[in-house]
Symmetry: C2
Subunit: 406 residues, 2 copies
């Protein structure tokens, strides 16, 4: 057990998820129990709030307030796109030391894990004991080591419910429907649209992921084939789909706007969907072609949470505080899948998660590169959970009278 | 009470809603109870299914199946964009007569009400007793006479939950966010985004409706003002917003594609959002501007239903069968709001609902034309219902140490 007496600090970085507050509230409530922790601070706007000392004292937040925040999507402590370099991390460490912080728990993606790694190194160099734990979150599900990431299951559920609804809509009024889903390099979220299928002819009928190059020819001919067979076609496309040169197809529209991480803006525009629509309209004689871009709503919608995801997000936060405070360890909290379906938590070194990211395994993508496999369905099903009822009428056809002879 | 012995026929037309199946199931189950009704048929794909005799015998559907379908969004009997003229309506009547149908209940918007009106007239001219009831549905809430339309409350709830989530997201990572909402001529659905506000600075901060012309100058300066005050700005915009000449701003992008009703395509493209984004990017020095178009998902999302809406949709279906079978009447089922909040159902003549549509009352829109009023909030609140928890952290700020002097 740690003998470190001091304050704990929690913060949230990167894009919000529906359950990221479960994680920080889990960490806070667990830390507040400990006799080693005098105060639990929250930094506002992630690392930016640390270097600017924008702290709030969560020791004085009511449990009722924190439990309600836990149920609320998006980063309750607010977020940042700052990507700290070494100097920035030195400042973080300096402020932690100044405030007597001994436990730092940072919830974010691989960049946040890297920040944790550098801050931890700086503290070690200075001989200041600072436990640093990275709490994983991302809707993209692209972190290394862990079986999956908290936040992914709820976003995947939103995507599945959206495509399930669109499938019903498109059955009623047939045509081609393209849905553009978030995911720059990893297609997990787009792939989760497969959970929308219940009956054998349900959409999405085609799924295109950033892991496989998208050719205009295949795209148009795939859609034409499905449309000919079914009279309709629903397509899920990752915003990050690339051409045969590996270049993001969306890149040409964004005016080159880039964030601090050097990423081109993909979301917040309908341009990719409209381009893909024009491919289908120009390349076929199908007239009704519609494209929706799921946009920011898929990661923050109020009222669409996977119960499994909420529980796991809560637990990785609790485990973060336990690893730091009771076990005196640094690292990133990870999940191991056992059986079908249970989870074991473990701590992995920060450097195993920092910076790098994961894409979908080959076994999750079909050979034609336009759908997922049963292996992926088995992987994603427990994370999304059972969907609401989507039932078709089962009733016999009535014999025709007027057109009897036809 | 009616003494008419025969079959009942139900069908669904126009755009799907989340609760349209509640209405047809209400009508079917009520009709199946009656000794006057030998069979209850459903027409597939609306009026198109009638003239082609694509009937299924709902007398043989199980109650369990129908109750599950009632919970499923989008038109379970499938829909059509056919807009029947007189000849088409004569065919409908001919098929009804041929199959011994005496009760026809058609769920749809003002065009469907008009179809009901003409079919009813044709039956009267021919001296064939055919009871025709229009069951109202539309997410646009633009039918005359009725206080509001089944289907609107659930779509409004989706819009409110979407903007509530986006508000939390945008607080965490500030910028300008534009959300484009369905609504060609009536702004009710866009206006319902106001229900996303809980705390005093919550978005949407600006709401633009088709009932008021949108000038680029006002739009940009409104956003600039809010952004200056709050460091962020969320805007809800109807897809049908018009310029000072009354022309839809979206119209220039759609290539003039029109449906059978002569309506230009507004949904299924992100072009309007991207145009409005460019107005803000070009007209201000705000760099982070994002636009999402809520698209088809807002009317069909699986798992977002207003309980009030579901109940009322069910009841208008039940009442339709009761008016036709027990009271031998024709008309459109309507709702009258009494007190705060209860509903009385009544039947209004088909011609009072057919063809024409309703826009938002002046008292629902603020003087500047960029927000709704308290009167609208009171109108829409019971239709949307209470939203899921959206809580902010309440904790005191920690005194700064490093930057004490600042």
């Amino acid at each position: 057990m740690s003998e470190l007496q001091g304050k704990a600090l929690v913060a949230q970085g990167g894009g919000p998820t529906a359950v990221i507050n479960q994680s920080f509230v889990g960490a806070v409530l667990e830390a507040r129990k400990s006799p080693h922790v005098s105060h639990v601070y929250g930094a506002l706007h992630g690392v930016n709030g640390i270097i600017n000392e924008n702290f709030i004292d969560l020791t004085e937040a009511t449990t009722h307030n924190l439990e309600a925040v836990a149920q609320t999507p998006s980063s309750g402590l607010l977020s940042t796109r700052d990507k700290p370099d070494i100097e920035y991390c030195k400042k973080i460490f300096g402020i932690c030391k100044l405030h007597g912080i001994r436990y730092f728990m940072y919830c974010g993606g691989n960049d946040s894990a890297d920040t944790c790694r550098i801050v931890n190194e700086e503290a070690n160099k200075a001989g200041y004991e600072l436990r640093v734990i990275h709490i994983p979150k991302t809707i993209d599900n692209d972190l290394l080591v862990t079986d999956h990431c908290p936040g992914f299951g709820s976003a995947a559920r939103y995507v599945a419910q959206a495509f399930a609804g669109v499938n019903l809509d498109n059955r009623a009024l047939p045509g081609v429907y393209l849905g553009i889903v978030m995911g720059r390099h990893a297609g997990f979220l787009t792939a989760a649209s497969c959970m929308a299928r219940k009956y054998s002819d349900d959409g999405p009928h085609l799924i295109y992921l950033p892991e496989r190059p998208l050719s205009k020819e295949q795209f148009v001919s795939d859609i034409e084939r499905v449309y000919k067979e079914q009279g309709r076609c629903i397509v899920a496309v990752s915003e990050g789909v690339v051409d045969s040169d590996g270049k993001a197809i969306a890149e040409q529209f964004t005016g080159g706007e880039r964030d601090a991480h050097g990423n081109v803006q993909l979301s917040g525009t309908g341009a990719l969907g409209d381009l893909l629509s024009s491919w289908v309209k120009d390349g076929t004689d199908i007239s009704r072609v519609r494209a929706d871009t799921l946009g920011y709503i898929q990661r923050s919608f109020l009222g669409c949470v996977s119960e499994t995801d909420a529980r796991e997000a809560r637990e990785v936060g609790e485990k973060a505080a336990q690893y730091a405070i009771w076990h005196n360890q640094d690292g990133s909290v990870a999940m191991r899948r056992v059986g079908d379906y249970a989870i074991e938590y473990f701590l992995t070194p920060l450097e195993t998660v920092a910076r790098n990211s994961r894409e979908m395994a080959d076994e999750f993508i079909n050979e034609a590169g336009n759908d997922v496999t049963d292996a992926f369905r088995n992987y994603v099903r427990p994370l999304v959970g059972a969907l609401p009822v989507a039932e078709r009428i089962s009733a016999p056809a009535v014999p025709k009278i007027a057109s009897k002879g036809n």
